[in-house]
C-alpha cells in the first residue's frame, strides 16, 4: 500500500532523521502565537493547531531579506551575491491553504520576463509536508475557492491526523523519495485510509463560511468607480495587518542599509503593504492612491480581479487570517457578499 503510518511519538525520530538533511521548519509556539520557524528540537513542534498567525510564506519570503551585499570604498564598489539559496528546506505541518498560497507566489514571482531567482530557487529547494485540517475555523473558506482542508495537490507529502497517529501519503516524486528514506514507517491499513477519508468529509461538512466567488472578478471589472468602495473602506484604519499576514501578499519595499563605519552595506527588501499611504506616493507629492478608498479597492481588486486576469487564479486561499486579525473587523467575507450583491442589483434592473 502507498500510504504509511507515522505514530505521534515518532515525530522526534522523524525530526532527527530529516533535520540532518533539511532545515526543518515547523509550527512553533512563540509568545502565544504559532509561527513557522526553524525547529531546533522536536519538542518545540506544535502540531495541535489551527493555523499559524504569520503565514509560512515567511520561510521563503521573510519579513526582511537581503537582495545582495556590497562593500564600498572611496571609488569602488564590490557586489556580493547571495550564496545561501541552495539550502534545503522542509516545511512540516503546513496547511493545504498555505501550500496553495505557494502556488500563487510561484506564479507571481515567475511571471513575465523577469523571474525572481531568490524566491524561486528557495521554492525549488523546499519540500512541503502538509497536514490536513480536521477542524477548520469558522472563518475559513478555502472550500469556496476550490480548495479543500485535505487538498494534497500542492504538497509533497500529506499527513492526516488520525488521533494517535498520522497517515502519510506521498504526493509528488520529491515526496515519494522522502518517504522512502523513512523506511521505518509502518504500512497503513485500509481502515486507516478509510478513516482519513471520513475525516476529510467531516471537515468539509464542518465549514460554516460559504462564499460565491464565481462572479466576483466579472463584477469587479466594470465597478471600479462604484460607491461600494466608499462603504467598504469607511472604517478601515489603513493598518495593513490584512496584507502583512496574508499568505499571498508579496509587495515589498527596497532599502539600502549602509554600515558607514565599516564600508559595507546591503540592499534589502522588507514587507510592505498597499494599505500604507507612502506606498504609492510619488516624489513630486502626487499620490495615485491617496485615500483609504483607493487603497482598500486596490487590495480587493488585486486579489479578486487582477490575479484572475493575469494568472488565471484567484489571489486568495481562504485561510481567514485577514478576517480574524483585522483590528476593525472589516470582514473580507462581508466585503465579498457586498460585491456579489452589486450584480444582483444590476440583474434586477435588467429584468425590470
Amino acid at each position: 500500500m502507498e500510504e504509511k503510518l507515522l505514530m505521534k511519538d515518532q515525530i522526534a525520530k522523524l525530526y532527527d532523521e530529516l533535520a540532518k538533511d533539511y532545515s526543518f521548519f515547523a509550527p512553533i509556539k512563540e509568545k502565544g502565537n504559532i509561527v513557522f520557524k526553524k525547529a531546533s528540537n522536536p519538542e518545540e513542534i506544535e502540531l495541535d493547531y489551527f493555523n499559524s498567525k504569520v503565514p509560512p510564506k515567511e520561510v521563503l519570503f521573510p519579513k526582511m531579506e537581503v537582495l545582495f551585499e556590497y562593500s564600498l570604498d572611496e571609488k569602488d564598489v564590490e557586489i556580493k551575491e547571495r550564496t545561501d539559496l541552495d539550502e534545503k528546506r522542509l516545511i512540516f505541518g503546513i496547511r493545504p491553504c498555505d501550500a496553495h498560497s505557494f502556488v500563487l507566489l510561484e506564479n507571481f514571482f515567475d511571471f513575465g520576463e523577469f523571474k525572481d531567482e531568490i524566491f524561486l530557487k528557495k521554492r525549488e529547494n523546499t519540500t512541503l509536508i502538509g497536514m490536513g485540517c480536521n477542524s477548520p475555523k469558522s472563518t475559513c473558506f478555502c472550500t469556496s475557492l476550490e480548495g479543500h482542508p485535505f487538498q494534497r495537490d500542492d504538497l509533497d507529502v500529506m499527513l492526516v491526523d488520525l488521533g494517535d497517529k498520522y497517515l502519510v501519503e506521498s504526493v509528488t516524486e520529491k515526496g515519494k523519495e522522502l518517504v522512502q528514506k523513512l523506511s521505518w514507517l509502518t504500512e497503513a491499513t485500509k481502515a486507516d485510509v478509510e478513516k482519513a477519508q471520513d475525516l476529510s468529509i467531516q471537515a468539509e461538512e464542518s465549514f460554516q463560511t460559504h462564499l460565491d466567488f464565481s462572479n466576483v472578478a466579472k463584477t469587479l471589472d466594470p465597478n471600479f468607480d462604484h460607491p461600494i468602495w466608499e462603504e467598504i473602506s469607511e472604517i478601515c484604519i489603513g493598518c495593513g495587518t490584512c496584507s502583512f499576514l496574508c499568505p499571498t501578499c508579496t509587495c515589498f519595499d527596497v532599502i539600502d542599509e549602509t554600515d558607514e563605519y565599516n564600508n559595507r552595506g546591503r540592499r534589502i527588501r522588507i514587507w510592505d503593504t498597499c494599505q500604507s499611504c507612502q506606498y504609492t506616493l510619488h516624489t513630486s507629492g502626487h499620490n495615485p492612491r491617496n485615500s483609504c478608498i483607493e487603497r482598500c479597492r486596490n487590495r480587493i481588486l488585486h486579489k479578486f480581479s487582477y490575479y484572475p486576469t493575469n494568472y488565471n487564479l484567484i489571489g486568495c486561499v481562504g485561510c481567514g487570517r485577514c478576517v480574524q486579525l483585522c483590528p476593525v473587523n472589516n470582514d473580507l467575507r462581508t466585503i465579498i457578499e457586498k460585491i456579489n450583491k452589486i450584480e444582483d442589483k444590476k440583474e434586477e434592473k435588467i429584468s425590470a
Binding site: D259, E260, Y261, R264, R266
Partner: protein, 153 residues
C-alpha cells in the same frame, strides 16, 4: 557578583587601553565656546569626545542621540547653555523637557542611560567643561563598549 559582571570585569582587564568614543553635541553659543576655552586654557581632558557643533541644544533631536547609539558610539553627550542663558531664549528649556523624557524612557527600555548624558556649560566654564568630560568618559568607560544597542549585521 553575577556572571555578566564578572565577564565585564575580565573584558576590561583584557582591554585596559580601551578608550570610549563619545559623540558630543555642543551648542554653538555656550558649550562649544566653553570647550574652546578649555582648549585655549590648556586644561586637560580625555580625548574621548568628537564634537558636533549645533546652533542650540534645542536643535538636538532625540533621533540624533538614538541613531548615535545604533551606529555604535559608546556614549552621547549633549551640552547647552545654562537655563535662562539660551541665545534663543528658550531652546535649552525645550530641550530639557525632551531629555528628561528620553532619559527616563531609555532607562525604562533597559538601555544603559549612563551612555546618554546632558549637561550645561557656559562659554566661561572651561574648567567645568573639562571636569564634566572627564566624568562622562569615566561613566561610559565603566559601561564598556556599546554592543547591546548597536545594530547587528
Amino acid at each position: 557578583m553575577n556572571e555578566t559582571v564578572v565577564k565585564a570585569e575580565q573584558e576590561k582587564k583584557v582591554d585596559e587601553e580601551w578608550e570610549p568614543k563619545i559623540i558630543a553635541f555642543l551648542c554653538n553659543w555656550c558649550s562649544y565656546a566653553g570647550a574652546d576655552l578649555a582648549g585655549v586654557s590648556r586644561i586637560q581632558y580625555p580625548p574621548s569626545i568628537r564634537v558636533v557643533r549645533v546652533p542650540c541644544s534645542g536643535r538636538v533631536n532625540p533621533y540624533f542621540i538614538i541613531r548615535s547609539l545604533t551606529d555604535g558610539w559608546d556614549g552621547v553627550l549633549v551640552s547647552g547653555c545654562h537655563p535662562g542663558d539660551c541665545h534663543y531664549i528658550s531652546g535649552n528649556l525645550v530641550a530639557r523637557r525632551r531629555f528628561s523624557i528620553l532619559n527616563e524612557l531609555l532607562e525604562f527600555f533597559g538601555i544603559e542611560s549612563d551612555r546618554v548624558n546632558f549637561m550645561w556649560a557656559s562659554a566661561a566654564e572651561g574648567e567645568r567643561f573639562a571636569v564634566l568630560i572627564r566624568k562622562v568618559t569615566e561613566k561610559v568607560r565603566k559601561l564598556g563598549p556599546n554592543t547591546q544597542f548597536q545594530k547587528k549585521w
